[in-house]
């Protein structure tokens, strides 16, 4: 049974005065308007940080009441920064059973009302406790991964700068993105060190925002051709190789098989660059570039909107800002916008037929790959 993305509601990401539910409702209402407010019988929503500080455990009933969806059924999902990707996949699977007709998928996060220290601590909840006990943070572990990549492939930190420059060059064309100003390699290289070798502008920004999509049974320009997930050890010391993420490779293999397409057929990709150099690892794990060679694809301009394989035309996590749970759904949403010809100023040069979205939890311990394309039915 086919499922397709019928509409997208991309809320504005950035420092927002509104709360978690207001942000969610903004994106959700935009998505609902997109399908002429046709009836929704399934609500799938997620937020990583709605627990704890926000005390908003009852996310689903609050959202259902706010959106007038009391007649729908609902699932709340949780997979750290991959929550949005998981929400999308959950809705796809539920619709494929035939039990539901049309689903609203929402991922929302409110972060800027808390201190960096609090956010850092809560985000570290997706890491291994023994590593956190030694003072590991997300940027700290991402820095270790980056160093391993640079060392293995004999690259300099210039590739990290280039990844940020690309992301910010893309995000200026995306009105929903947090960052509306491009940066030069020099500006990136001069930003303050966060965790060597990663600098501030290599790290995704704490942001507020929500994304919503309506998925329904049937086919369209953004039909779900395939989905796949993968896991890898949360504890990084149990991994043999930190320059590749098994969770992506497994998820991609399953999604490609499911979709009956290969990496060469992918016309546009959105990947989870929570830290700028991760874009290279993701491209390589997804088969969009040879191992160790993704930085060359960037240098040759192949990832630009008019290139061989446009990557993160939305600006990605680095350019869009990172309201953690929302990012995973923004990736699916962006690919849907591109395929539906609704991406406006951030549309890739040639209307794509097949697009791929990848979401990541923590340091790639649970990853999601979605492949969208034209439905054949």
């Amino acid at each position: 049974m086919s499922v397709h993305v019928a509409s997208v509601g991309m809320g504005k990401y950035g420092k927002r005065p509104e709360g978690l539910i207001d942000l969610a409702a903004e994106a959700a209402n935009a998505a609902l308007e997109g399908v002429g407010r046709r009836p929704i019988d399934l609500l799938v929503a997620g937020s990583m940080l709605a627990h704890g500080a926000h005390g908003q455990e009852a996310l689903l009933p609050r959202l259902a009441a706010r959106l007038g969806l009391e007649a729908a059924s609902g699932f709340r999902v949780d997979s750290a920064s991959g929550t949005g990707g998981m929400a999308f996949h959950t809705a796809v699977v539920a619709l494929e059973t035939g039990r539901f007709e049309r689903a609203l998928v929402v991922a929302t996060e409110k972060m800027t009302d808390r201190t960096t220290a609090t956010n850092t601590k809560e985000l570290a909840a997706s890491l291994d406790a023994s590593e956190v006990a030694a003072g590991a943070t997300m940027p700290g572990l991402a820095a270790i991964v980056t160093q391993r990549y640079l060392e293995r492939f004999h690259r300099s930190t210039a590739i990290c700068d280039a990844a940020t420059v690309h992301a910010r060059a893309m995000s200026v064309d995306n009105p929903a993105a947090h960052f509306q100003k491009a940066v030069t390699p020099e500006e990136v290289a001069k930003s303050r060190l966060v965790s060597t070798p990663l600098r501030l502008l290599h790290c995704s920004a704490i942001s507020d925002g929500a994304t919503a999509v309506v998925l329904e049974r049937g086919t369209g320009p953004a039909t779900v051709l395939g989905i796949g997930q993968g896991f890898e050890s949360v504890r990084l010391v149990d991994r043999d190789d930190l320059t590749t993420f098994a969770a992506t490779r497994v998820a991609a293999q399953r999604a490609y098989q499911n979709a009956k397409v290969g990496p060469k057929e992918v016309d546009v990709a959105e990947v989870h660059d929570a830290f700028a150099p991760f874009v290279y690892i993701h491209m390589e794990d997804l088969g969009l570039s040879e191992v160790g060679q993704a930085p060359d694809a960037f240098e040759r301009g192949e990832v630009r909107r008019d290139g061989r394989i446009p990557v993160n035309p939305s600006g990605g996590v680095i350019g869009r800002g990172h309201p953690v749970a929302a990012s995973g759904l923004a990736e699916d949403a962006e690919v849907a916008l591109q395929l539906r010809g609704e991406a406006g100023a951030h549309a890739v040069a040639r209307l794509p037929k097949v697009g791929l979205a990848q979401a990541m939890s923590g340091i790639a311990s649970h990853n999601f790959v979605t492949i969208l394309g034209r439905g054949g039915e």
Binding site: T120, K121, S130, G140, E151, V237
Partner: protein
């Protein structure tokens, strides 16, 4: 560089032979719970190290953390006392409570 006689305890899986850092249960490779302690020399090689200028709450900046490969290919994260070691640096590792700490070996003499 010689073994200073110190050791740290790791685990060895009886089922698949994997060596790994003590965890809360099963072998991370095969899932077996039949594992036993194994002492390995407390000298390891730094694979990567980072200096965090905005460490987590409760840590002083800069906080230095190294990914260290111990004998038997067991890896651990160690808090670094002293300067940031380059990859390939050999460090002495000791356990302190629930964390590991590493210091760079003094130069000869």
């Amino acid at each position: 560089m010689t073994d200073n006689g110190e050791s740290i305890e790791v685990r060895r899986c009886d089922s698949c032979g994997a060596r790994f850092l003590p965890n809360d249960g099963a072998c991370p490779r095969c899932g077996s719970t039949r594992t036993r302690p194994l002492a390995v020399p407390a000298l390891g090689t730094v694979l990567a190290a980072t200096e965090m200028t905005s460490p987590a709450e409760g840590w002083h900046a800069p906080h230095r953390l190294a990914l260290v490969e111990m004998p038997e290919a067991v890896r651990l994260f160690a808090i670094v006392d002293g300067g940031l070691p380059a990859p390939g640096t050999v460090v002495a590792v000791r356990r302190e409570g629930e964390v590991y700490r590493a210091r760079t070996e003094p130069t000869a003499g």
